[in-house]
Symmetry: C2
């Protein structure tokens, strides 16, 4: 049986969930792929664990201080590196791989374009790609909360950062949209080409006016393709209640993809984090196992 | 460049749309797969066309009488047979392949389970899998039409059969659900194990009561998996207006898949027929081209 040695870099909520889910699926990997999948190392920013024979779940709760940093990862002998560290859109670190996996979390996006809509010509994409802003807008609309009160509620729930601007100013949505455009659809867009609007302009008065009109506001990344040329933007769009996108509530995400031959295809995802992101990362692992070739899934430098 | 000879059996709306879409994508197949895809034969129940060098779109409008039947298909020299004939659930002809392609029409189902949710454990599936019954229920609910009036409207629009019982009694939904269960999820269910209810019990009074309650009725195929054991049924379920499934209107279809790690994933499709079904069939063709191996996509006897 072929052995696959896995290292997980980044050992916060997502990294831990990924490690545990991976170990719980070892029997599946054996049966389905004939693959002996071993977790040989995990490392966070200050601690880690390593064992060439494979770590077991009960050891994950006691990482050793000092076992960290890129050299540790390189020395682990991994065939496959799963990058689960934090990402910073401003510096670009730890890079694309993590962000792609975050994008996939419980919401098929590139999957849909690559697989379910294969062969179709893309006309438009609209996506509710950021859970935090969707939660905030939903709370402001349905509970009548102001932005600050909604944000406090999200921060208390642990799904808004202390500095929430990556989310609320639209940059997380923009980043995901760019990845979808450039890696899913072969566009060649840069952040400079996107008009990015966040929640800054959403006042109580506007919410009231939308309610009176019977429409629901969403922070949407949109992409159109006209004569092979892509245009992308992030901003508020409103939808009537009969539109499935209007009913994407709380921390759920959604995407609508319009193609020439298949009309509109909508996907809505509502996985609980960090488990859903862990499952998305391990979905990529299964594609690699099914190709029966060990290649690194991460092209980024591990976060340190 | 490798040549792939294609024969399309069944030359009604879907067969014609598939032939035209295939020919319009020949350049794509060359560029993306290095494949010279030729349509060498098409045949309906009473007429057909064949040309070992490949048919062009303009010839499709004038099929010759007599060129039909299984022997004709066998003699066409095709590497790949696309089955697009009518299906009859009672006799099982022309068989599974056509039904699988019909199931895929503009709605990712097996795709989602196989690809986007790979590795997750399935807990439940609910699907609005039949366009005709969704149209009928939607017209009865939103326009206040009776069943007969709604059916007449659907028949006038060409998307309900003269004998609509395959759809209205739930058999089409049941058949699609079985395929999804058995071929997508490895279940081993037979039609006898399904409780199948159609629209027969939906009276104006029940519609009125649902409206008063603020819920929307849908004909749903449902599948649960408890301790590895599958249970399937077809019947009316009702959803509150805030549920995305309540907002699947007209001839649209949808599926909600609940898994252990990714929560609920919903897909909604609204492709226009017969183009969407043609595109779904050609999606399967692209998987074959990308594997660079010519295998028959149909395991059924062609319809005659």
């Amino acid at each position: 049986m072929r052995v696959f040695n896995i290292t997980i870099a980044g050992f916060g909520g997502v990294g831990r969930a990924t490690a545990k889910l991976l170990l719980s699926r070892r029997e599946r990997y054996r049966k389905v792929y004939g693959a002996d999948v071993r977790l040989v190392a995990v490392c966070g920013s200050r601690s880690g664990l390593s064992d060439p024979g494979g770590l077991e779940a009960e050891r994950l709760d006691t990482p050793a201080a000092g076992l960290s940093a890129p050299d540790f990862v390189a020395a682990s002998g991994a065939d496959i590196l799963i990058e689960a560290g934090p990402s910073d859109f401003r510096t670009g670190r730890p890079g694309l791989a993590y962000i792609r996996s975050a994008l996939a979390a419980a919401l098929p996006t590139i999957d849909l374009v690559d697989y379910s809509l294969k062969g179709c010509e893309l006309l438009e994409i609209e996506g509710i790609l950021n859970a935090t802003t969707n939660f905030l807008l939903d709370a402001m609309t349905t509970k009548g909360l102001g932005f600050d009160a909604a944000l406090q509620e999200a921060q208390k729930g642990g799904f808004a950062e202390a500095d929430p601007r990556n989310d609320t100013e639209g940059w997380d949505t923009a980043c995901k949209l760019l990845i979808l455009a450039n890696f899913g659809l072969g566009a060649d867009l840069t952040m400079d080409e996107l008009a990015v609007e966040g929640l800054q302009s959403v006042t109580g008065d506007r919410i009231e006016a939308w309610r009176a009109e019977g429409v629901v506001p969403k922070l949407v990344g949109s992409l159109t393709c006209i004569d092979g040329k892509f245009r992308a933007a992030v901003g508020i769009r409103t939808y009537p209640l009969s539109d499935p996108l209007a009913n994407v509530r709380g921390k759920d995400k959604a995407i609508r993809i319009t193609t020439d031959a298949m009309g509109d295809t909508i996907a809505i995802g509502s996985g609980k984090e960090p488990l859903a992101t862990a499952a998305a990362a391990l979905k990529d692992l299964e594609y690699i196992l099914s190709a029966r070739v060990a290649v690194p899934v991460s092209i980024s430098e591990p976060s340190s």
